[in-house]
């Protein structure tokens, strides 16, 4: 299992670096917008779950009109400004401020390593990321697969924005990721025209099917705030993927050194 160990090691370093970078960017670019949106969310009657209460598509009226089970705990009795500033009404949540930030950083690093594991494993099938420059291109591919393609059908959403059933969106998200990755792989590594045509079909297909959309797009979130958020999310993710790919290239190159392969390097 030397290959396994080496791949995990490279992914851990790259994921750690890129995760920290992403967490810093989020702290300045996206989280302030989320906090702004939560002000609108609180004013609009607290947190809501469309999938749990399909009748409550009119979210503004929900806390008063519909005594939905998932909102009963704290949203109903607490005045908006007196409610705990935690993001959610259900279950445990980190306290605002440092604790919430710390959990975001942990999530960034852990999933950064997760994305790195996927990236390194897939790129090893294709011969491995040889240097930082190749890594940048692999990062672009990761950005296209994990941010651009799913983001077309399911744009980044702020709290208090309406959305379709969570599970259906998650299924569409993963299906889009797999189809886009397969399509890009075919384009990059197969030379036959029919396969490239198949690749284009694969990339287009999820958008023909269409992402699950909410019944109503009514939201208290201003259009400008949402647009700002979409740009911030897309750009921060682009930088994350470029850093991730580049660091994988650097670390892999450093540890393989003169060895011909990952297997023979530092096992």
């Amino acid at each position: 299992m030397n290959l396994f160990r080496n791949v995990v090691f490279i992914a851990a370093i790259a994921g750690l670096v890129a995760g920290v970078v992403l967490a810093c960017m989020q702290a300045y670019a996206t989280v302030p917008l989320i906090l702004k949106a939560e002000v609108y969310e609180q004013a609009g009657g607290g947190h809501h779950h469309d999938h749990a209460a399909p009748a409550a598509t009119d979210t503004n009226a929900m806390s008063t009109a519909a005594p939905a089970a998932n909102a009963m705990s704290s949203a109903a009795p607490a005045p908006a400004e007196a409610a705990a500033p935690a993001a959610e009404d259900e279950g445990w949540a980190p306290a605002d401020g440092f604790e919430r930030f710390a959990f975001s950083v942990v999530a960034n690093i852990v999933t950064g390593i997760g994305f790195a594991l996927i990236l390194v494993a897939v790129s090893e099938f294709a011969g491995g990321i040889g240097n930082w420059r190749q890594g940048v291109f692999w990062g672009l591919a990761g950005f296209a697969v994990f941010t651009l393609a799913p983001g077309l059908g399911l744009p980044p959403e702020l709290p208090a924005m309406p959305a379709a059933d969570l599970t259906q969106r998650q299924i569409w998200w993963w299906a889009t990721v797999v189809a886009t990755a397969a399509g890009l792989g075919l384009i990059a590594f197969r030379k036959s025209l029919p396969l490239v045509i198949l690749a284009v079909l694969l990339i287009v297909a999820p958008h023909v099917v269409g992402a699950p959309q909410p019944d109503s797009f009514e939201t208290p979130i201003p259009e400008g705030l949402h647009h700002q958020f979409v740009v911030a999310v897309t750009v921060t993710n682009l930088v994350f993927w470029l850093v991730l790919g580049a660091v994988v290239g650097v670390v892999r190159g450093r540890f393989t050194g003169t060895a011909t392969s990952l297997r023979d390097s530092f096992a």
Partner: protein, 59 residues
């Protein structure tokens, strides 16, 4: 599958190589899936800002 993979040196068969890399990819998918897509409330709340910032389906 006893043919050794060229890029990995003589000792790793291509089957073993495939299995190990597939295992790594699965591990990565599991990690991302648990942190970013779990329906457990506490996990969702802990990574709430992260999920929104990654444009993962949330709520």
């Amino acid at each position: 599958m006893t043919t050794a993979s060229v890029s990995l040196g003589a000792s790793v068969s291509s089957q073993s190589r495939f299995m190990q890399l597939a295992l790594v990819a699965l591990l990565g998918i599991f990690v991302v899936g648990f942190v970013g897509f779990s329906h457990i409330d506490a996990v969702h709340n802990a990574a709430h800002d992260y999920r929104h910032s990654m444009a993962f389906p949330c709520h």
